[in-house]
Amino acid sequence: MEIIVPIRQVPDVALNIRVNEGKVVEDGVSFVISSWDETAIEGALQMTEELGGEVTLLGIGPERVSEALRKGLAMGAHKAIHVLYEEGQTDSFGYAKIMAKVMEGRNYDLILTGKQAQDTDAGLTASMLAEFLDLPQVTNIIRFSDLAVDGMTLYRKGDHGTEVIGIKLPAVVTVNDSLNEPRLASMRGIMMAKKKPMETLSPSDLGMGAEELGLQGSMTEVLKFEKPESRKEGERFEGDETETVPMAIQKLVSEAKLAV
């Protein structure tokens, strides 16, 4: 099975993120693979370990994205495509268009990726890509079974329960982080990653002109980022539960107007 895993390199959201004049401050930020995409890499590796085939990573962005791709290769992915692209103001629509171009003429059975990227938290790109490629989509899967080269059964976390969906390949599938626990890179994996093929493309290699890139190729734009008013720690109650709980509830009712 040939699987393409689009991954996104994002600021590590576990650390402090700063904003200056409406923009995210990149200095001092450490960049990581978006955690849902790591889950997708792990899922793809498990599939190819069972059925054979290769996992190809796809990253779009500046030079630093090659580090994210190499980390994915160190986990065990077989090769990578890096679209070297410095255009900051690109929305999900624009990225999906670039990805659709990358897919042109390529051989793949499955496009597997995270349900959303950890920086935008938008969750739009994969489904848009599916539409542009006229492929079926299943988003937010928490399990897969009945793996075969032409299809599989997917378990999607829906609003009213787990939807069980049979799908014929090729298709676009996005993963929930409950799917698996991504593996860590081994020493050998880290070393071998340097020797794995990395194809570097520019948008012009893909036949894309300025009108399809950046803000011009996007449908939406971010005007500014802001730090939301952060929640402050409120009142703390320490001591015996038979005293602290009634005290807290009394305050909840009188101050916060709790009604049950």
Binding site: G28, K71, A74, A185, S186, M187, R188
Partner: protein, 399 residues
């Protein structure tokens, strides 16, 4: 509720001694000032939290097999203090004197190692040269064949060397100092050092001004910035140093192994993780970020030494700051022009092993207002007087 290891105190408006930096060196200085000299009206001020800097980021390797007489005696005192520290501080420091290998991969490095062994033995420090079959006996998984790019030609073996739990050292010094009345103030940032007529008057912090007659700077990588406040320029360049820890692995490595040619050192903790360190990054930087390049080169070099480790996985990597001196020896020094100001820095990649002796001698220097013989060679202005203490040949890895 867990027992607090040290207490929070209101900041007093004056102390006898203010120590800047709450790492192993600052806390050890405070501890020995209180214990050995009865000076307890001390504040240790730390911009982040205890052990945030190099003390919490090093690979906790201890040894005393240095190259110069000054270095060997100093680190030997440090190692001996470490040997009794767990008992003295009533804290399990998990000190394991498992023996320390420095591998040689060339004739030149074997010559340097042989010289070191001779110097060490002359000063009573246990060091010997081992040949490859002897190394193989103690490290069965090591590759001593001539296949690697840098075949192993021998090693300097130093039986008293070993590893310790670095956090425990920091915490126990903090607790020991706290119990003797020292105040530890975390999240306190120094903004200026007040000097009048060539004498220290106090320290201005983000939490107010503290009056004092003696200030000790123990801030390692940030020393140039602190010393600028009293008009002293140091021979330091701050570089990051990266390290990593693997996931648990069967108990397998029972010694510390260092290869300066391959730029690596590693040891195994009691939990089974391999703690691995590298040389410093090749350009100065004040950021503590880890890089993929480090991971890649480390993996390649590690597998040259120990092919068996190919499946071991990396759990975490991090970086710390190193204040590198030109001669790879520390600076522990009074300052002629500023009475009451003491510098403790230049710990580069060799600081953690030196912290007990560093604290011991710094405390003595502060208490007696004169430089102890043990550290007479480590003055800050030795460079411009051409009195270097060359320890570059004894650094763990060729930086």
């Amino acid at each position: 509720m867990t027992e607090r290891m040290w207490n929070n105190h209101e900041m007093r408006s004056s102390y006898d001694v203010v120590i800047i930096g709450g790492g192993a060196h600052g806390l050890a200085t405070a501890y020995y000032l209180a214990k050995n000299h009865g000076i307890t009206n001390i504040a240790v001020i730390e911009q982040k939290f205890i052990g945030y800097g190099g003390s919490g980021r090093n690979t906790a390797i201890l040894r005393s097999n240095y190259r110069t007489e000054e270095g060997i005696l100093f680190y030997d005192q440090s190692l001996k203090l470490y040997e009794d520290l767990a008992q003295e501080l009533d804290y399990n420091l998990m000190f394991s004197q498992q023996g320390h290998f420095t591998l040689g991969h060339s004739t030149a490095s074997m010559q340097a190692l042989t010289t070191r062994a001779a110097y060490n033995r002359a000063l009573g420090v246990n060091s010997t040269i081992l040949d490859p079959p002897e190394i193989k006996k103690m490290l069965p998984e090591i590759d001593i064949s001539n296949h690697p790019r840098y075949p192993i030609m021998g090693a300097l073996y130093h039986p008293p060397g070993g590893i310790i739990r670095h956090d425990a050292v920091v915490w126990s010094y903090a607790r020991g100092a706290d119990q003797r009345g020292v105040h530890i103030h975390q999240l306190t940032e120094v903004q200026d050092i007040l000097v009048e007529n060539g004498e220290v008057r106090g320290v201005k912090t983000n939490r107010g001004t503290i009056h004092c007659k003696q200030v000790v700077s123990c801030v390692a990588g940030w020393s140039s910035e602190i010393c600028k406040m009293v008009g002293i320029k140091l021979p330091l360049v701050t570089h990051p140093l990266q390290a990593l820890v693997t996931t648990d692995y069967k108990p397998w490595l029972h010694h510390v192994v260092v290869s300066s040619t391959l730029h690596i050192y590693l040891s195994q903790t009691d939990r089974g993780e391999l703690v691995c360190g590298n040389g410093i990054d090749h350009y100065p930087h004040y950021g503590m970020r880890s890089t993929l390049g480090f991971l890649e080169s480390y993996a390649a070099h590690l597998l040259e030494l120990f092919p068996i480790l190919h499946n071991v996985t990396v759990q975490r990597q991090w970086a710390g700051l190193c204040d590198m001196t030109p001669d790879y020896s520390p600076i522990i020094s009074m300052v002629d022009d500023v009475d009451g100001f003491y510098i403790n820095c230049g710990w580069g990649t060799w600081g953690f092993k030196g912290s007990p002796a560093s604290g011991w001698n710094t405390a003595q220097m502060v208490a007696e207002r004169k430089t102890p013989d043990m550290i007479a060679a480590f003055r800050h202005d030795r460079y411009v007087k051409n009195r270097l203490v060359g320890e570059k040949a004894a650094a763990s890895v060729g930086n």
